[in-house]
């Protein structure tokens, strides 16, 4: 299959590492959680932190419960002598996007990207309400599960899915996750009671802590660092209106635009890693991305098996890339989301050289 990048430079994911995702990591600071993952991903390429052209991370002060939390995790990188570095208050997938742009400018040939989050110190359902319109919505404290349930009910009402189909998504994800040593929730998991109808506990992601890291490299550097680089042939992200009443929750136009811009529809994909923390959101994303039954969706188990907030999107890109590295995929789509009910979405197409 001919690989065509839409941009000036060929850039690939050449390494991916992640922590074990756990319900609590009380004994670990964020630095202690991130540092081993950074060491692992660097070891895969033989690069040292000082040899990396650009470093970018994604995290949230609100999860950490303190301002400037990312200034401390920089200690995990070992930023001395000083490094060229940036940070987004977004999922690590957008840090990867910023790093990809940096490589496209020609100012860097390699990039270290990481994302991390500890949801365990607080009630993440409540914390995420602070993302909402502070004047009209946040004072009502509608939590993330309740908003996802509104979306799920809209899908059921529109005849796009039913509770049985949703349960099957959760069951498939956890069954696939049995082969993923980093996953938090694996195997046979009871579908459980309603958390917020129509969503049952089995439709919702586990709450946990975790970190992930990726190394990007351009052209021949990528070929030198990785046996089968996962070339990012397209990447784009789009945002939608914030007010849920302004959106059709059964659809994801932002995902569709990003997919068009990334070139998803220009060829068949064999694998999709979708950042769908709720089973119902996989239904929306499958439709927006036009994924048929032949596509392996979330072979890692996806966010229903491990959902470390601020890292879970980056993990999707990493998992898709790792499938290409291992020769298990030739053309994969990776997706990350942010905001209530899939408000913001990033889509990347990853391709391997012909085997």
């Amino acid at each position: 299959m001919a690989r065509t990048s839409r941009h000036a430079r060929e850039v690939a994911v050449v390494a991916f590492a992640q922590s074990d995702h756990l319900r609590r990591t009380d004994e670990l600071s964020e630095v202690e959680m991130v540092m081993p993952v950074l060491h692992q991903v660097l070891a895969q390429t033989g690069l040292k932190a000082g040899e990396i052209g650009f470093t970018c991370s994604g995290s949230s002060d609100y999860l950490a419960g303190r301002a400037f939390s990312f200034t401390m995790t920089l200690d995990g990188v070992g930023a001395w002598p000083p490094i060229s570095e940036s940070h987004v208050e977004m999922d690590g997938a957008w840090a990867l996007y910023e790093a990809w742009v940096k490589i496209q400018t020609g100012e860097a040939d390699t990039a270290l990207v990481y994302g991390y989050g500890k949801s365990s110190p607080g009630s993440v359902r409540d914390v995420l309400t602070r993302q909402l319109d502070p004047y009209y919505l946040a004072p009502l404290w509608p939590d993330s599960v309740a908003l996802a349930a509104l979306q799920a009910q809209a899908l059921v009402d529109a005849g796009e899915t039913d509770e049985e189909a949703l349960a099957a998504i959760g069951a498939r994800s956890r069954a696939d996750a049995a082969a993923n040593p980093h996953a938090q929730l694996t195997g046979t998991v009871p579908q459980g009671d309603y958390l917020v109808a129509p969503l049952r506990t089995g439709d919702c992601p586990p709450i946990g802590d975790g970190a992930a890291a990726v190394i990007l490299a351009a052209g021949d550097t990528a070929r030198r660092l990785c046996g089968r680089p996962a070339w990012i042939t397209g990447i784009d992200h789009r945002i939608e209106a914030h007010g849920l009443g302004l959106r059709d929750l059964t659809d994801s136009p932002s995902t569709r635009i990003a997919a068009e811009q990334a070139g998803v529809f220009e060829g068949p994909v064999d694998t999709a890693e979708l950042h769908a923390p709720f089973s119902s959101q996989e239904v929306v994303l499958r439709k927006a991305l036009g994924l048929g039954d032949g596509v392996a969706v979330n072979p890692s188990g996806g966010a229903l098996a491990a959902n470390p907030v601020m890292a879970a999107g980056l993990i999707r890109i990493g998992e898709a890339a790792a499938r290409i590295h291992r020769g298990e995929s030739d053309r994969a789509v990776a997706h990350a989301t942010s905001g209530p009910c899939l408000q913001q979405n990033l889509v990347a197409v990853l391709e391997g050289d012909p085997r």
Binding site: H7, A8, T55, S60, D61, Y62, R66, A67, F68, T71, M72, L74, D75, G78, A79, W80, P81, P82, I83, S84, E85, S86, H87, V88, E89, M90, W94, Y97, E98, V101, K102, Q104, T105, E107, V127, L128, R130, Q131, L132, D133, P134, Y135, A138, D236, H237, R238, I239, E240, A241, H242, G243, L246, P253, S254, I257, S338, G339, P340, Q343, Q344
Partner: protein, 383 residues
Amino acid sequence: MAVVGIGQTKHVAARHDVSIAGLVREAASRALADAELTWADIDAVVIGKAPDFFEGVMMPELYLADALGAVGKPMLRVHTAGSVGGSTALVAANLVAARVHRTVLTLAFEKQSESNAMWGLSLPVPFQQPLLAGAGGFFAPHVRAYMRRTGAPDTVGSLVAYKDRRNALKNPYAHLHEHDITLEKVQASPMLWDPIRYSETCPSSDGACAMILTDRAGAARSPRPPAWVHGGAMRSEPTLFAGKDFVSPQAGKDCAADVYRQAGITDPRREIDAVEMYVPFSWYEPMWLENLGFADEGEGWKLTEAGVTELDGDLPVNPSGGVLSTNPIGASGMIRFAEAALQVRGQAGEHQVPDARRAVGHAYGGGAQFFAMWLVGAEEPPS
């Protein structure tokens, strides 16, 4: 790549008349008007601000997507501590430089009146020792170290504050307009964090700043003179480590050196006409003069004392009045970048440095560890 539109709000202590969305919309609309462009001309939005705790909104860009015309477009949110306004502009610039987008809106804001920044920055025990309240408590010892190291007289800080507050009188967007300011008043103001006096510290402001960045083709259509980006860089180092030089951090030196290399600058003191540097506490002017290569080590305070950095000196520093007169924290770095661009566009009004051809915008953040800087020029750089 060039800046073709700049918009700021009038920075004040509290904008009770607008929401956060209204605040950012005001700056963005002014930038579009300056560039004579519409929302439809914008390909992507890059927004920055300091910690989310300052307004109590987690990742507010999600809620601000509508107000900034970003629906259906890419929107990125940068956060690199106090340097964020500068970093945000550089991320936006990279989108154009990489030819991913042609025209990008970048904006940074803070609505400090929504909370109390000093306590928002002060960690609870046991994460930080008691009495290290706010940024001033962190930086005062480093100012003291600079004074000891260089033998600078105690009065230098007050000279900076007196200059910047007078410059602010010429900038209609500046927060503090102290018409009756005198050097004696600065020197008699209460000591907050020894050796930093009340009048030598930045205010808490509500404000936003926006810029439109575009490629050569876009700049060719610009109704007003563009500010061309000749170089930009970011550098970071850890907050604390054995051997760290808090007075003149290596990351700041490396950042400046990278920008000068890109812009072909070999003698910054002679070749640069105006500097907008991030001076939240007065003493940081002489400290950064040295760190950014405008003065030899130990000599920065002599430039300040000799009046070189005055608006009519030969290296005007912070003609806008600087952070000492206006500090919507997340926007402060972008205001430095934008004010540098205003200077080379000849659009700075009463605080215009005559015939400014090359200007530097600079920001720093965290524990003097994150640096962002760019150099803009009136002329298009060689391709």
